[in-house]
C-alpha cells in the first residue's frame, strides 16, 4: 500500500457552470476533457454517476449501450494513456478512471442503481436497512424462524437414532420455504421494475416534486422489503448447506 499525501485532484471551490481548465484557463465545458485544449479535468465534487455517463437520472437504462459507453470512456480515461503525463494529470486520470469504474459498477446493476439514486437524494442511508418483517409476511417469517431454530437444535444435539426422519422432514420444509421466499423476491423485483417506469415518467422540475417524493418512498419501501427477504433466503441457504 502506498499513501498519497498530495492533493488528489479535488476541485477547488467553484461551480460547475464556470469550470475553468487548470491548464489553458479557458472554460473547460465541464466534461471529462477540456473543450479548448483537451487536457483531462479534475472531478467536480457535485457530479454524480448519471452525469458521468451524460445520462439523465432515470432508472430504466439500456445495459448494452451503457456497457458500450463504458468501453468508450475506458479507452480515453484509463491510466494507460497517462503513463508519460505529468504527475498531476496521472492523478486526475486515476481519479477519473476509478470514478468511471465505480459509476459503471453501480449503474449496471438495477438494485445498486436505485439504491444510489435514493442515497444521493438523502432518502436512504448507507448500511442502515430496517430489519423489520413486512407485516404481510409476519406469519410466514415466524414459521420459517421456528423451523430454522428446530434445525439448529437438531444439529447441535447431533443425530440421535431415529431422528434422521425428522431432520429430513425439516430440511424439506425449509427448502420449500426457501423456494417460496425466492418467489417473493422475484415478485418484489417485478414490482420494482414497474416503479422504475413510474419514476422515469415523473415530470422534471417543480411540478414533479410531489410525485417524485412519493415514488421515492415507494422505491425505498420495496428495497427494504427486498433486502429483508434476501437475508432470509440467504440464512436458510447457509443453514441448509452447513448440514
Amino acid at each position: 500500500m502506498s499513501v498519497t499525501k498530495t492533493q488528489t485532484g479535488i476541485t477547488p471551490a467553484g461551480t460547475q457552470q464556470e469550470a475553468v481548465c487548470w491548464s489553458c484557463k479557458a472554460p473547460s465545458g465541464g466534461g471529462h476533457f477540456c473543450a479548448a485544449c483537451g487536457k483531462i479535468q479534475p472531478l467536480s465534487r457535485e457530479a454524480d454517476y448519471f452525469a458521468f455517463f451524460a445520462l439523465p437520472q432515470k432508472l430504466q437504462i439500456d445495459e448494452s449501450s451503457l456497457e458500450q459507453r463504458f468501453h468508450q470512456l475506458s479507452w480515453k480515461l484509463h491510466p494507460d494513456n497517462f503513463v508519460r503525463a505529468s504527475e498531476y494529470e496521472r492523478n486526475l486520470a486515476l481519479e477519473r478512471s476509478s470514478e468511471l469504474n465505480d459509476a459503471y459498477r453501480t449503474l449496471r446493476d438495477p438494485i445498486s442503481r436505485v439504491e444510489y439514486l435514493l442515497l444521493r437524494a438523502g432518502v436512504r442511508k448507507e448500511g442502515t436497512t430496517k430489519q423489520q418483517a413486512p407485516p404481510e409476511l409476519l406469519e410466514e417469517v415466524f414459521e420459517l424462524n421456528e423451523s430454522l431454530d428446530e434445525l439448529r437444535e437438531a444439529k447441535s444435539e447431533g443425530l440421535p437414532a431415529g431422528a434422521g426422519g425428522d431432520l429430513t422432514e425439516l430440511r424439506a420444509k425449509l427448502t420449500e420455504a426457501q423456494a417460496n421466499f425466492q418467489e417473493k423476491l422475484a415478485e418484489v423485483d417485478a414490482e420494482l421494475k414497474a416503479v422504475f417506469a413510474e419514476w422515469d415518467d415523473v415530470p422534471v422540475g417543480i411540478e414533479g416534486d410531489a410525485a417524485r417524493k412519493s415514488v421515492m418512498a415507494k422505491l425505498n419501501e420495496l428495497l427494504n422489503r427486498r433486502s429483508y427477504i434476501r437475508n432470509l433466503v440467504r440464512n436458510v441457504g447457509i443453514e441448509l448447506e452447513q448440514g
Partner: protein, 612 residues
C-alpha cells in the same frame, strides 16, 4: 532513457521478454541459452550473489546458502508461513515481524531483496541482448495476489533499479499474448497453474472501433498452490518409501534431499510425455533406490492437489455469472498444465479441449512485453480492464468488516467513507483496512492500520472523508480530507505486512552494494578488456617489419588513435571507449591488411598446394 521489458517473476522460473522489430513478443535467452531463469538465489562463499541456473547447481552443493520459491514468502508475515516451513527449507529469522527475513549463509534478506536479485539477473540478460540499459519494466503477479504481495513485488522492482510501469496479472497477460496470437473473441477462461500459484480468470474479449478490449469479468485463485505442492507430495511419498526400505532419512540430509527433489521433478516431467518412468536415486552411502512409477500412480497422488483448483474455478464462473458451457475458449498457462491429468480435468469441466498452442512457460512474459510496449510507445490498440481479486473493507464495531470495494471490481476502483469522533476531544480515529471475503476482521487479511488526526472538538463534530483507491496495479492508496476545513489530513500508514518507507530507503541504499553488475559498469569492464586487446595487437603490429612500409600520415593517425583510446580507458565512459575502439580499428585497417597478407603468405608459403 533505456529500454523497457516485460518480466514474469515466477515461483520456480522467471523470464524476460520484449517486442521485436516486427511487433512480435519474444523471450530473451540468458547466458545458458535458455529463456527460463530458475528463480533460485545463492550466496557463494565469497559473499557474491549467484542467480539462476548457476544457483540451481549450488542448491545441490550448498543448500544452506541457497533459496528457491521465494515468491511464496512475498508480502507475508512469519505466522503465515509456519506450515510452509515444514515443507520448504526456508531459514527464517525468528525475529522477523512485518516482513520476513530469510537467511542465506550469514546474511539475512527480505523476500523483496531476494526477488530483486532475480530481477537484476533478468535485467542484465536483456541489457546484454540490447547492448543498452534497461530501466523500466512491466512485472506480472498472480491475479490472486493481495495488496501486500503486490507491494512487495513492486518494491523488488525498485530495488533492482527498475521503474515498475505496471503490475499485470499473470492470466491477463497470458490472455493478451493469446489474443494477439489468434485474434480471439468472446468469453475466455485462463487456467494458470504454475510452480507456486494458481489463478483462474474469466475474460470477455471485445472488438471496438478503437481496438480490442480485454475485460476481466472475475478472477479467483490460491496463491499457495502449484507444482511445488506436487513435488512435495512426491517427495513425501518417495522419502517415506526410502526410509522404509533403507532406513535412511532423506530429510535429515539437505544435500541428499535436494538431489532427490531434482530426480523427482525430472520424473514428473517425464510423466507428462510418457506413460511410465523409473525413479532412481543413489543414497549417500552408495546404495541405490529404484522404483517403477507408472503415470496412473502419479495421477492418483496428485489428483487431490489438482482438484483443489476447481473450487476457485467454480467461484470465478459464479462471480462472472456464467456456466462452464458459456465459455468459448479455455487457455492453459503455467508449467503444471503440462500434466495430462490437469488437461483432462479442465477439459471435462468446460466440455471442450483447452488451448495450449503457446509455450505455457513463456506466454505470461510475452503478454507482459505486449503491455510494456503499449505503455512505452503510447500507441494503443488494446486495453486491459482488470479487476481486484479481493474485497476491500474496514473494521467496524465488534470486529465486523464493512466492505467498501467488492471483489472483481474493475480497477482503478475507489470508495469514500466519512468518519467522525465518538468521544469529546478525541484527537484520533483508528482505521483498520482489510482485504478478504470473510465477515470478521480476524478472518481477513490485515493490510494496514492508521490513525486519522482530528483537532479536539465535541463528539461527532469532526468530519473526515477517507478515500480508498485501488490503482491499476491493484495497490491501495489512501487519502484523507477534513471536510470542515477542506484540507488534506496527514496520515501515517503502518503496513501490516511490508516495508515502511524508511526500511525501503535503507534497502535502496544497501542494494547499491549489489549493483556492481549495473549495465554501465559491466559495459565499461567489457569495453576496457576489448580496448586492451586491440591496443596490444596494434603495438605488436607496429613493431613488425612490414609496419615500416606504412605512409607517415597513416602512422600518425594510428598513434593518435592509440593515445585517444588510452585516455578513454582511463575514464569511465564506456561509450567513449567504444567510439575510440572503432576509431582505432578504422585507423589500423590498412595495417591489419598488410599484416594479414604477410601472415597468409607465411602460412601458404610453407605448405604444398594439395595440403590447402
Amino acid at each position: 532513457m533505456g529500454k523497457t521489458v516485460g518480466i514474469d517473476l515466477g515461483t520456480t522460473f522467471s523470464l524476460v521478454a520484449y517486442i521485436d522489430t516486427a511487433g512480435k513478443p519474444q523471450c530473451i535467452s540468458g547466458p545458458w541459452g535458455a529463456t527460463l531463469c530458475p528463480s533460485v538465489v545463492s550466496l557463494d562463499a565469497d559473499g557474491k550473489i549467484v542467480v539462476g541456473e548457476a544457483a540451481r547447481q549450488l542448491l545441490l552443493t550448498q543448500p544452506e546458502r541457497t533459496i528457491y520459491s521465494v515468491k511464496r514468502l512475498m508480502g507475508r508475515g512469519v505466522e503465515d508461513i509456519r506450515d510452509e516451513l515444514k515443507i520448504f527449507p526456508f531459514r527464517i529469522d525468528e525475529n522477523s515481524r512485518n516482513v520476513i527475513r530469510a537467511r542465506l549463509g550469514d546474511k539475512y534478506f527480505t523476500p523483496s531483496e531476494i526477488s530483486a536479485f532475480i530481477l537484476r539477473e533478468l535485467k542484465s540478460w536483456a541489457e546484454d541482448f540490447f547492448k543498452d540499459a534497461v530501466d523500466r519494466a512491466v512485472i506480472t503477479v498472480p491475479a490472486y495476489f493481495n495488496d501486500a504481495q503486490r507491494q512487495a513485488t513492486k518494491d523488488a522492482g525498485r530495488l533492482a533499479g527498475l521503474e515498475v510501469l505496471r503490475l499485470v496479472n499473470e492470466p491477463t497477460a497470458a490472455a493478451l499474448a493469446y489474443g494477439l496470437h489468434k485474434q480471439r473473441r468472446g468469453r475466455v477462461a485462463v487456467y494458470d497453474f504454475g510452480g507456486g500459484t494458481f489463478d483462474i480468470s474469466v475474460l470477455k474479449l471485445i472488438s471496438s472501433a478503437e481496438g480490442d478490449i480485454y475485460q476481466v469479468l472475475a478472477t479467483n485463485g490460491d496463491t499457495h498452490l502449484g507444482g511445488d505442492d506436487i513435488d512435495n507430495a512426491l517427495f513425501a511419498m518417495i522419502s517415506a518409501d526410502i526410509s522404509a526400505k533403507f532406513h535412511f532419512d532423506v530429510r535429515a540430509n539437505p544435500e541428499a534431499a535436494q538431489q532427490l527433489r531434482k530426480v523427482l521433478i525430472a520424473a514428473k516431467h517425464q510423466l507428462s510425455d510418457f506413460e511410465h518412468t523409473t525413479i532412481g536415486f543413489e543414497l549417500p552411502d552408495g546404495r541405490t533406490y529404484l522404483r517403477e512409477f507408472p503415470r496412473a500412480d502419479f495421477d492418483k497422488l496428485v489428483e487431490p492437489i489438482v482438484m483443489r483448483t476447481m473450487g476457485p474455478v467454480k467461484m470465478a464462473l459464479a462471480d462472472a455469472k456464467l456456466k462452464p458451457s458459456e465459455i468459448d475458449e479455455v487457455v492453459l498457462v503455467g508449467g503444471s498444465t503440462r500434466i495430462p491429468l490437469v488437461r483432462k480435468i479442465v477439459g471435462d469441466y468446460f466440455g471442450r479441449a483447452p488451448h495450449a498452442e503457446l509455450n505455457p512457460d513463456e506466454v505470461v512474459a510475452l503478454g507482459a512485453a505486449v503491455q510494456a510496449d503499449i505503455l512505452e510507445s503510447g500507441v494503443k490498440n488494446m486495453l486491459l480492464l482488470d479487476v481486484t481479486p479481493l474485497s476491500l473493507g474496514i473494521e467496524t464495531m465488534g470486529g465486523v468488516v464493512a466492505k467498501l470495494i467488492p471483489r472483481n471490481s474493475t480497477i482503478p476502483a475507489s470508495a469514500q467513507e466519512l468518519f467522525t469522533t465518538g468521544v469529546e476531544n478525541q484527537t484520533g480515529i483508528d482505521i483498520h483496512i482489510l482485504q478478504g471475503e470473510r465477515e470478521l476482521a480476524q478472518d481477513c487479511r490485515s493490510l494496514a492500520r492508521f490513525q486519522l488526526k482530528v483537532p479536539p472538538a465535541p463528539a461527532g463534530l469532526a468530519r473526515v472523508e477517507v478515500k480508498f483507491l485501488i490503482d491499476a496495479n491493484g495497490i491501495l492508496q489512501v487519502a484523507a480530507r477534513d471536510l470542515r476545513t477542506g484540507e488534506q489530513s496527514s496520515i501515517e500508514v503502518q503496513p501490516s505486512y511490508g516495508l515502511t518507507d524508511a526500511e525501503m530507503e535503507k534497502m535502496l541504499e544497501e542494494s547499491i552494494e549489489f549493483a556492481e553488475q549495473d549495465f554501465a559498469q559491466r559495459q565499461l569492464i567489457e569495453a576496457r578488456v576489448e580496448a586492451d586487446t586491440i591496443l596490444n595487437a596494434t603495438v605488436k603490429a607496429l613493431a613488425r617489419e612490414e609496419a615500416q612500409s606504412l605512409p607517415l600520415a597513416e602512422r600518425a593517425d594510428i598513434d593518435s588513435a592509440v593515445r585517444n583510446l588510452r585516455q578513454a580507458v582511463a575514464g569511465t565512459d564506456y561509450k567513449l571507449v567504444r567510439q575510440r575502439i572503432d576509431e582505432l580499428n578504422r585507423a589500423t585497417e590498412h595495417l591489419a591488411e598488410i599484416g594479414m597478407n604477410k601472415a597468409l603468405q607465411a602460412a601458404v608459403g610453407g605448405k604444398r598446394i594439395e595440403e590447402l
